[in-house]
């Protein structure tokens, strides 16, 4: 049964991955390349001073260490694989274990999990470390930002679990509307770690309009990704079969080993 769930999750991931890959290829790639070009034309914006893993001086992103075509191709591929990974992990494994506890019925469960996944992987970490535009200087070191990002992912996941728990408990006694209200409360708690975390000052050579536009695009891209994962997953899941799926295998052959 776990294997069926995993298959559905990966299928949803493939669907979302194709679309997200197209978004990478058609919109994100050209825009990031354009921003990189602006950064290099501008000079003196400190871009050359940043210490990358290579320690190389004046390393040209999207044109220096690797050919542009490789960068673009790998980014599109990575975008597709990113969706497959999220689909497999969230809509495969996590959905399998948490399905009985996820609020809602039928397709709603897919969308709730999609929202929770977005909050966990992107939303909560972005409260502390919003997506930055290419070439921007960040005051926190990479060695600080990586644990910070990972820590906020854990906080986001716990918040979503707490919200689900609050919904289920409140819904039992006080009804649906009160349950939704109770589920909203834990998300307010996200403000606490967001305020306590060290501030990451960002400065860049790009114009504010372009910077905000790029950040908006990155937020939109990830939100779209999770929406597509949820839509795909809802489509691929036979919700009419929800209740009976557990006790009565739909096709006896694939459940033989677990019939006990």
């Amino acid at each position: 049964m776990l294997f069926d769930y995993l298959t559905r999750g990966v299928k949803a991931g493939l669907l979302a991955g194709v679309v997200f890959g197209l978004l990478m290829a058609g919109v994100a790639n050209p825009l990031v390349a354009h921003a990189d070009a602006l950064n290099h034309d501008g000079g003196g914006d400190g871009h050359h001073g940043h210490s990358h893993a290579t320690g190389g001086e004046g390393e040209a992103h999207g044109g220096g260490a690797v050919p542009t075509a490789v960068n673009r191709g790998a980014s599109v591929l990575a975008g597709g694989l990113w969706a497959v990974l999220l689909g497999g992990v969230f809509f495969g494994v996590v959905y399998y274990f948490l399905e009985p506890a996820i609020p809602g019925t039928g397709a709603t469960k897919s969308y709730v999990l999609g929202a929770a996944g977005f909050v966990t992987v992107s939303g909560a970490p972005w409260l502390v470390l919003p997506p930055v535009s290419p070439g921007a200087q960040q005051s926190l070191a990479v060695s600080t930002r990586l644990p910070l990002y990972a820590g906020m992912m854990i906080v986001g996941a716990l918040t979503c679990l707490l919200a689900g728990y609050a919904y289920n408990r409140t819904c039992e006694s006080k009804g649906h509307a009160a349950g939704v209200a109770a589920a909203m409360l834990p998300f307010g708690l996200l403000a606490i770690p967001a305020l306590l975390a060290p501030t990451n000052a960002v400065s860049g050579g790009l114009s504010p309009a372009l910077r905000h536009g790029l950040t908006g695009l990155f937020v939109f891209g990830q939100a779209l990704l999770w929406l597509l994962l949820a839509v795909g997953h809802a489509q691929f899941t036979d919700h009419a079969n929800d209740g009976s799926e557990i006790g009565v295998p739909s096709s006896p052959a694939d459940e033989v080993t677990t019939a006990d």
């Binding site: 978004l23 990478m24 994100a28 893993a53 975008g79 557990i246 677990t258």
Partner: protein, 61 residues
Amino acid sequence: MSTANTVHGRIERARVELTPTQVAAGALLVLALGFTLLFVQEPLVHDSMHNFRHAAGITCH
């Protein structure tokens, strides 16, 4: 009934269905993927995903 429709039931069911080797292999796979995503600082790999890491909102420079 170990296959009741609860989270606990799901865990029980997974325990019955999966061998410890499969669980270990799956955990290792996820760990390896996460490790790759986070820590591949090999400049060639890292830089070739430059555009994607911006689009995903996870930047390391």
